[in-house]
Amino acid sequence: MLNIRDLHVAVEDMAILKGINLEIKPGEVHAIMGPNGSGKSTLAQVIAGKDEYEVTSGTITYKNEDLLDLEVDERARAGIFLAFQYPVEIPGVSTAHFLKSIVNAGREGRGEDELSAVEMLKLLRSKTQMLGMDQKFLSRALNDGFSGGEKKKNEILQMAVLNPKLAILDETDSGLDIDALKIVADGVNAMRNNDNAFIVVTHYQRLLNYIEPDFVHVLYNGQIVKSGDKSLALKLEEKGYDWIKEEVASATV
């Protein structure tokens, strides 16, 4: 589904990603962990297509197409979803209106008719309920004055209504209370099937108890320096990153 080959990315001539290789198949969940500033969000945003990051070399293919050729919105309509680490506020635009607009944009992209008002309402109701969110969020301006946790839930709500093929969750667990974490994880698990895939960026092993990853990767200094199964996350929880940093240091001398 997604194939990243030797990806190098720079911002304003400063190299951030330095040769990422990653292959994701339908049905898989990949967790990406790593110290602050290692490049996790950068990778997520490059996949989504943020243009301030310059891909200096390497390739990303998505469903056998060159992803780097597509505009941000084309990628989104092709099924790529990014739950932002820092969701953006859009004053004056109600959450309901925003959700309607994005659902219909997706449908238009697939050549489908717009949802009727009734069907739309049903969809929004059922997804807010599934995520244990109060209906009143729908009438509030998007993320405007939302608490940190509410913003994260709102990202998952958007994911749920769009039903993407590849969802990247960038630290969605940070800022969620224990119950919310469980609800969000349940939401993700309910969506999991053989057709879609998830990239879960997190600092905490706890989330991975709920969303069981098939692979865990450690991103450090712009490279994936270690990959393994879910036991790797447990080891990181226990020992921190120092042993990995040491491994990397000894490998490069």
Partner: protein, 484 residues
Amino acid sequence: MAESMQVLEDHTNSEYKYGFTTDIEMDVFPKGLSEDVVRAISAKKNEPEFLLEWRLKAYRHWLTMTEPKWPNVNYPKIDYQDIIYYAAPKERPEIDSLDEVDPELLKTFEKLGISLDEQKRLTGVTGIAVDAVIDSVSVKTTFKETLAEQGIIFCSFSEAVQDHPELIKKYLGTVVPYTDNYFAALNSAVFSDGSFCYIPKGVRCPMELSTYFRINTANTGQFERTLLIADESSYVSYLEGCTAPMRDENQLHAAVVELIAMDDAYIKYSTVQNWYPGNKDGVGGIFNFVTKRGMCGGKNSKISWTQVETGSAVTWKYPSCILKGDGSVGEFYSIAVTNNMQQADTGTKMIHIGKNTSSTIISKGISAGRSHNSYRGLVKVGRRAENARNFSQCDSLLMGDKCGAHTFPYLEIENQTAQVEHEATTSKIGEDQMFYCKQRGLNEEDAINLIVNGYCKDVFNELPMEFAVEAQKLLAVSLEGSVG
């Protein structure tokens, strides 16, 4: 970064959609202005002596005045002898049914999406009574009879002069005297038509009243005059829309609007101004120099101005409220969009005179292309205006990096009990917001519309429902461009 700027710029290179002209037989005066022209206009309209006298006084006063230079706009010198001061569709007199209206004219209004057919209009949820003004002459007022049943007078200004001269004599120029400013003086001398409206005591006008202005003939100035009187405890919502054909020369539009609200009356006046803005390089377009003022003369009266300004090459316009009655309320909600080479200097004046008066100003400026957008507002609290309150919020949104936004707030406070609050922000359309929306699958255009509409929401909320939808579409059109 640079790339998305470029996209924004392309996006905002819009085309004007109302740029057609109509072939209607017109009765046109030769170019130029003199006492004779003023007399001829008055004679053409069979006006009573008092009105001719008033016009002549205005004309003579105008001769002593000079064009204002203080607005933050630049435009070529206007040759007032190179303008036609009277042009009217020939088949005008006494139109009672649509069958008598020039079919070309009907087509014009259909193209503009305005139906003058009452039957068609009645099928809508709420009716809107329309006074259609083409080249400053009213061609058709709908629903006149329905309104008359409640004692409401809604007709062209010329008709009002014939049928209700006492009202004209009593109120004309009482809010905007002909001495007020250069363009008001000019208008007072040469105005050819416009709308007149009177709502009797205690009547709540059952439908939206609307005037639709259209400039058609080349080189004509449009000088219409609107006079709206809301008697005690009455209510009216009034809408005004304007478009013009695309022409290489600039055309002058200098209107005057006077509103009078008596005790406990409420006037809601909404404008969607979409005069031709000129082409991308700034050739052509309407010079829109308008004086709009409301007199809250009665106690607890209220006047609310809402405007969505997207057109015109140059706009100079400050809908104002004189809060004379104790407890009176003035409101100003404005969205002003400038794109390409457009220039706008617009805002309001809130003059607090009575006790316990309050005013609200919400101004949203959006600048794109190489345009300049200025907010200019005066809040004046007089010596006897105990407990006056004002809240002003002036926001500017910049699209791209070649446009300009300017804010000129003036405060004159002579009474220490006044409470005045002013907030101002300037922001760029957020790259982060754009990325966020696009990541959800919205294309460039839809993303911009969504963000801009959100930004303008406080003002859209003030518009009547039908108009709000039209205004949002218009905003989308003004900012839309060649995004492929």
